[in-house]
Symmetry: C2
Subunit: 431 residues, 2 copies
């Protein structure tokens, strides 16, 4: 199958292999990237002097702000070479345009082919895509290209509409779904309401995107537990972004998402931009390999993750990246504890009584962070409120302020028509 | 550019070329299609005896009903060879599944590459796709594959949302759009309301799908006229369907959509399944060439079209297929005249006062067809009603019954949540 890929070589071979690609990419940036050419010149850097992954730290970091301010200067090819125009979703700040050449689309296909292989998808399987290929999103297209390259049957349903998803599942018998995990909960709910025998369906696994399946100890999150209690399937996490053009995907041993060495070099840095120890959390910084259109060098993703380097039972000698614990800009300092919204979202997901919630962060008078969680719940008793707070104390060591709010009111605020995504986190802190 | 394609050879060479492909496809059907194998056997047909396009008429026709009843028997490859699952929209009857192999996707890419070339799109252009690639639709994916093969920049926006479409147009400066023509009217309206200087935008042409741009004399429809009065761009019609896996696209001379000889053989038949003369209207019957997954032989599309064989100034020696004048099952016999809904829809589109309409056909007591057009209009005067009726008499030779209806009432009926498309035609006749 894929035993010939670089992932099965020794860690030394992988490192040497990556360094050859790194040198090529640096030369390419020096020749074609207006932004990096300028950066190298300003910092008097001779790219030929960068030969190892350790040397990388001599190069400046690239921020999301650079990408937003100088978007055009990051393009390394003339416009007529760009085949596909993608836009980042702009979760933070204004959206950025990514242009992919034909070779980049091939690289993207290879990335997703290998990503699906890591999750165990094989030629001849059938996969149902529950994510859009439209709206200038990179992911949906990447899945399609990768699955086609792998020789898999593809059902392009797009996102949402449980009825349509089930019609397709029952008609085409897919072995795998690609979905946001919280939508899998919706599928189960719909099946229960409409007497669909989902436990006997063809689905044996879901490749999950957009939300964390594991916590920092690689244990199942509450969301994952809720799905698995209902449905005996495998949930594989895949973590990727437009900027990286590479996915980190879990194998059958669920020890974090395996890196693909030919596509990306990663670093995990602390608040002072120093490397953290393996297993410690920090900001993911990426250097893309083999990208033609818009390659990035030491790009700070803002995502807080951990790197796991213990050998994996699957036989791949690649390190893994854990679930995104939070975004750097979303970090909350609360009563001496560092919190990120995903852990709070997941904790709230454990209460079926909670229909909708929104976390709001602000500065208080004494200059520290204040958390208010607005909750719409079917149970608004004092007992339930205390139960939720106790859970917070047990899991996250602190209990924020929680307010019950009417469903309609909260719905208006969460599902703002001007936003592409539900607004479950509001940051009112001054920068 | 594309001067080497078969379209530029002599008509005799094209015919000979098609006949070689036809023979290959017939052998393939005889070897791999459970449905056609059975059909050949029942009718004691030796496929080797079919050598010319004229011989085709000795073969039985295939109906939409066959495809619905025996969908699985039409598949010529085992399931693991199917890469993409498409579903017909089921405008009439229940949806049918089409499975495409990897080679079929390549054929589809070639089809759309050539289709865009016929409309004048060239390598290095940028094209904005205003149609979905999700929902198991074939068309959106076909456009993407074809444009990529052509080396064109692609902006995958998906359907609807004028604001998002304009954001993309102003940011990425596409030269062409792919859109339903009535949505182009919506884009113009939005631009006027939001002070977007659309007349100075980058757009120079629209590849129009789903609605007719020309009438049977190849003159502009009212819809086309309304767009062109506002916006000085080129509107190219492209006509295709999932069943055909081939597009008929207008060149710069707008003399009907050019056929692509390597992809399809067409016949146009009358009510007794006899060929009509060139230029006369009849039902389009297609035989697909080079299809692996689900090829069709003499398939009755139900679409009423005309074939134009006069030489085209573009230099291609291929015949053209005109706009779809109607669907066979939608034919209305009214006061001695044959009518199809598209002509009525287009006539009504000429009145900006008419906000929404729905055509309803039923049998009357004496067994002939009755037409009632329910109209929601900003002008409900007797004078306006007479003006509309006079237009019907002038253009279609008859005036049906017209009723003014409140907007909300008609809206509920036209935009039925259970339907994928607006319901502007209701057929209450007994079969």
């Amino acid at each position: 199958m894929d035993e010939n890929t670089i992932a099965y070589r020794s860690m030394e071979e992988i490192k040497y292999f990556q360094e050859q690609l790194l040198k090529l990419q640096l030369r390419y940036l020096d020749d074609h990237s207006p932004f990096y050419k300028q950066l190298f010149s300003t910092h008097r850097i001779d790219v030929k002097s960068i030969e190892t992954i350790e040397d990388l730290k001599r190069l400046p970091l690239t921020s999301k702000n650079d990408l937003q301010l100088y978007n055009d200067d990051f393009f390394c090819v003339p416009q007529h070479k760009i085949v596909d125009y993608c836009t980042t979703s702009g979760t933070l700040g204004s959206p950025v345009t990514f242009g992919l050449t034909d070779a980049d689309l091939e690289r993207l296909a290879k990335n997703e082919m290998q990503s699906f292989q890591i999750a165990g998808v094989r030629k001849g399987d059938v996969v149902q895509l529950m994510t859009t290929i439209d709206r200038r999103f990179m992911a949906g297209l990447a899945y399609f290209l990768g699955l086609r390259k792998l020789g898999v049957g593809i059902i392009r349903v797009g996102s949402g509409i449980p009825q349509m998803q089930w019609d397709s599942i029952l008609k085409y018998n897919p072995h795998y779904l690609v979905s946001v995990p919280s939508f899998v909960l919706k599928l189960i709910e719909f099946a229960e309401q409409h007497d669909i025998d989902y436990k006997k369906s063809s689905v044996k696994g879901v490749i999950c995107i957009g939300e964390a399946l594991r916590d920092k100890e690689l244990n199942n999150t509450v969301l994952t537990q809720r799905i698995l209690e209902k449905w005996d399937i495998k949930l594989y996490s895949t973590y990727a972004s437009t900027e990286m053009g590479a996915a980190f995907t879990e194998c059958e041993y669920f020890q974090g998402g395996h890196a693909q060495p030919e596509l990306i070099i990663t670093e995990i840095l602390d608040d002072e931009d120093k490397p953290v120890a393996d297993g410690e959390s920090g900001e993911l910084v990426v250097t893309t390999l083999g990208v033609q259109g818009l390659p990035l060098l030491r790009f700070k993703t803002g995502d807080i993750v951990r790197k796991y380097t213990e050998p994996c039972a699957c036989g791949r000698n690649t390190y893994r990246i854990g679930a995104v614990e939070g975004r750097k800009q979303h970090m909350v300092k609360y009563k001496g504890t560092t919190l990120y919204p995903p852990a709070m979202h997941d904790l709230l997901a454990g209460f079926p009584q909670i229909l909708l919630h929104q976390i709001e962060i602000s500065n208080n008078e004494i200059g520290t962070d204040e958390i208010i969680i607005r909750v719409s719940s079917s149970d608004i008793s004092e007992e339930f409120l205390n139960e939720v707070k106790d859970h917070f104390r047990a899991k996250l060591r602190v209990a924020p302020k929680i307010e019950f709010v009417a469903f309609e009111e909260l719905q208006r605020s969460v599902f703002n028509p001007l936003s592409r995504k539900p607004i479950t986190f509001v940051d009112n802190r001054e920068a």
